[in-house]
Amino acid sequence: MAGPIMAVLLFFLVLPIVMIIVVSFWRATEFSIIPAFVWENYEFLFGSNVTYRVFFNTFKYAAITWVFTLTIGFTVAYFLAFHVRSLTWQIVLFLLCTIPFWTSNIIRMISWIPFLGRNGIANSTLLSWGVIDEPLEWLLFSDFAVILAFVHLYTLFMVVPIFNTMMRIDKSLIEAARDAGASGAQILWNVIIPLTKPGIMIGTIFVVTLVMGDFITVRFMSGSQSANVGRLISNDIALLAYPSASATAVVLLLTVLIVIGILLRFVDIRKEL
């Protein structure tokens, strides 16, 4: 019965990965790509300083975004799970958090333009308050904008799994902790956070892989001024340099899989569903 799914994944996931690995050893001319078995794409990739800078940038985006999405996502989930008391309200507020997920990411990125632009809301507000004398130039088309967009797009992926695990925490454990004299902070630190770890890990997997594999947010929000690995790949594709794009893609895939492999040691996804 699992046949149809196996077929879809074989043809549209496994085969494309195999194809990318194969093509990463091919040669490219200006107009076409030629089957071969050469290491030059990888040699070029690892011989270039740009590669290391761009990979560093990718990890930097992932790490900073992770910190913000985790902090915000945990706080929101904690509020929903432990401070909102009626189930109806929990569902309503939870849905409010998830609805943007089902709308277009591109439009959600575009919608930062009037806010962050040179004459945007942020700058004019700060100017009128007298906080700054000249419009800030680094609001839009900068690393700041990239991180802001990532947090905006992906915090939800933290909220959902963390909220899900928090809802499964037996409330009597918290009562027991309180009866034993624990303060609110102690309950949070010694009871809730340890029990929420699986949710945090699942959220982390989502956020880290989405940020590491992204190229469009970085391109759009940095105004093509910053790069991550995804952009390196998409630039090569735009130049029809498929072998070189494939080599970068293979290295990116390995990096992502290693990161996920490490994270999966901390959580059994099948048990958490």
């Binding site: 799914i5 494309p16 929101v76 591109i106 919608s111 806010f115 997997i205 893609a249 099948r270 569903l273």
Partner: protein, 279 residues
């Protein structure tokens, strides 16, 4: 009930700010799409008008928007139906261990975490090297499935993990065939979650960008069209389009949520005749 602690109010304020952060920008462009004809991409508003919406309906003023909308809609429906059917079948299959089940499970996880551009690149390469034409309804369709199927399947795994098998046993004891059990017992019970899977299938496909980038061929889907516009359109017509498709998404979401609510109610009402027996 205990009185609200101070942290409740602090957290409520935090939550309100979070919602503002989530919805603020979208609401801003919704307002700005009503700019007057002389208005620009940011405030101040230069009058209010429907000018930019009218612009959208003028033929070919800004690319093939309506064609791309029709394609995205059709593709969304195709992906939705396929995702629901395959997720149910897969969910049922995974209730028993079978050969290769953990391999398939890891493939599903890989499908979820693999950078989208790799799927786009790989599928594009396969089609171009084997001499096939990429098209949104073939290569684009398959690429999108690698994104919607994992969501659908994970939802189904969660549903079947909580499924009470005694309902099926009862049906079987009453002499139902396995098809009858599925049709009259299992499917009605899981119906509300299927609506959730359908919602994921449609909206994820409708908004997908990276996986269709190299696999949709010469006919763009709507997100590709919108992204193309960002590089050469500098008028609020972009916002008008953004507002319109967001409203469309919201209508779809509301539709699915109402459907889910209705089917949950129906299940609660018609699901059991306990206590209504032969008195």
């Amino acid at each position: 009930m205990e009185p609200r602690s101070r942290s409740f109010y602090v957290l409520s304020a935090f939550f309100a700010l979070f919602l503002l952060f989530l919805y603020g920008p979208t609401i801003t462009i919704a307002i700005l799409s009503f700019q007057g004809p002389g208005g620009g991409l940011t405030f101040p508003m230069r009058g209010t008008s429907l000018h930019w919406f009218r612009d959208l309906f003028e033929q070919q003023a800004v690319g093939d928007i309506w064609g791309s909308f029709r394609r995205s809609f059709a593709l969304g429906l195709m992906v939705m139906v396929t995702t629901v059917v395959l997720s149910v079948i897969g969910g049922l299959a995974f209730r028993k261990k079978f050969r290769g089940s953990s391999l398939l499970f890891y493939l599903i996880i890989t499908s979820l975490v693999i950078p989208s551009i790799l799927v786009s690149l790989g599928v594009g390469l396969i089609f171009s090297q084997s001499g096939l034409n990429v098209h949104w309804s073939t290569s684009g369709f398959g690429s999108q499935l690698t994104w919607t199927l994992p969501f659908g399947l994970l939802i189904m795994f969660a549903v079947f993990n909580r499924f009470d098998k005694s309902y099926e046993e009862a049906a079987r004891d009453l002499g139902a065939t396995s098809w009858q059990t599925l049709r009259h017992v299992v499917l009605p019970i899981i119906a509300p979650s299927l609506i959730g899977v359908a919602l994921f299938g449609f909206t994820l496909s409708y908004d997908e960008f990276a996986r269709t980038l190299l696999t949709s061929g010469s006919y763009n889907t709507l997100p590709l069209e919108i992204f193309g516009m960002t590089t050469n359109v500098t008028t609020p017509v972009l916002y008008a389009l953004g507002t319109l498709t967001t409203v469309f998404s919201l209508v779809i979401i509301a539709l699915f949520l109402c459907l889910a609510l209705w089917s949950a109610r129906r299940r609660a009402r018609a699901g059991s005749d306990a206590g209504k027996g032969m008195l």
